[in-house]
Symmetry: C2
Subunit: 236 residues, 2 copies
């Protein structure tokens, strides 16, 4: 059965799925859907995902979107996936599900709201929205504090006190990497109060090397362009 | 093993869990946490759920929050649960997961944002926020349209073209029931353009009778009080 994964590597859930597949030796064809060029709005792509979003997959003839649903499906459909990603034990799995669900209305909403309305909106032909940015930043900060003081409080390097990463670690760290788009001072200001979060990001990077940095290369490149534009603006 | 379910019946995900347990013959003790009295902020309740939210469960010694995580866990931990709620077939399950995940950033965010900022905020000591209400209403309308024209487009009475309801039907319809708090004209205005949604709500109610109406009785009572207050305000 063929597996096609439709992604833009600048999208955080797209990266989580690519890293997951690489780590677990799942063979796939990566199809790039460039969001900044509007490729998610073409009639061809709407045949794949009517919601006009990435990521999406087509496994043989089965179409699926929503990144957490995709991660759960792949972890279950490919038996070579190591158990720690999506444990078969009901209570361990339920804890992972709890973090994945919490993510939507907290870290994801805060981070995406802040980064989009501070940096990315103009690339999509939309104006920056300072009020939405401020609300996003507040929720983002609160979410980072919750990760720092609750999800990472038990023994073990990963969320929930686990000794190996789960789907939740991958999804959440890929989201936080989106902060690379921000001005460095702003990013450091957001992350530096949260020492457990900083260590955990490094632990996830190490546990998913070399794929983590490979898949984030495009993001690092674009982030560098943003930084240069800022420096040019500041010195002109 | 004992199962305690901590709920406020005015909370939509609380109701979904209660109805699910009743329908599947799962025995539990219901513990009422009155949000309007701040009972979710007591130190005792924080021992149950540090996030200070309902619903939450304690199954013997296992604590869990986030309603979709709870529904998945209960459907898996209680083998008497009928398969249609959370299918074992991987692709059928993935489709249910897709709706459950989609819900967070769409129907849930729109509905909760609109209802809270139009009606409920003062009961929690907060001011109404017209701009947040307007954003919520826009997302709520778009979400109802997506349910009407996409999730309910296939044969079968329920989401995804299924002939029996899944966890997704229960979660989403309980969310929509929150619109009972609105002024009737407003609620009808929101729902009436979506004929498939209206039929589906009735189908979910029928499929989950008599528990659906039983568990929603508190909501109907409070909604009636709101309507009377509005009438009194209009005629004074």
């Amino acid at each position: 059965m063929s597996l096609k994964i439709y992604v833009d590597r600048l999208s955080q859930p797209s990266r989580a799925i690519l890293i997951f597949c690489k780590l677990n030796g799942i063979e796939f064809e990566e199809v790039n859907i460039d969001l900044s060029k509007g490729q998610h709005r073409t009639p061809e792509y709407q045949e794949v995902n009517i919601m006009k979003q990435v990521p999406a997959i087509v496994h043989d003839t089965f179409k699926l979107f929503e990144s957490h649903a995709i991660l759960r499906y792949l972890a279950s459909a490919f038996p070579e996936t190591a158990d720690h990603w999506y444990p078969k034990d009901l209570q361990k799995r339920a804890n992972v599900e709890c973090v994945l669900d919490w993510h939507h209305s907290n870290l994801r909403r805060g981070s995406a709201g802040y980064v989009f309305n501070t940096i990315l909106a103009p690339a999509f032909g939309l104006p920056l929205n300072p009020q939405a940015a401020a609300e996003g930043k507040k929720l983002l900060s609160a979410s980072l504090a919750t990760i720092d003081t609750y999800w990472l409080q038990k023994d073990g390097s990963f969320l929930l006190g686990n000794s190996q990463p789960s789907l939740a670690d991958l999804s959440l760290v890929c989201e936080i990497m989106q902060l690379e788009f921000l001005d460095e001072k702003d990013r450091v200001g957001l992350l530096s109060p949260h020492k457990n979060v900083l260590k955990w990001i490094d632990d996830v990077k190490s546990a998913t090397a070399p794929y983590f940095d490979d898949i984030h290369a495009t993001l690092f490149k674009v982030s560098e362009i943003f930084q240069k534009q800022r420096s040019a603006g500041a010195s002109s």
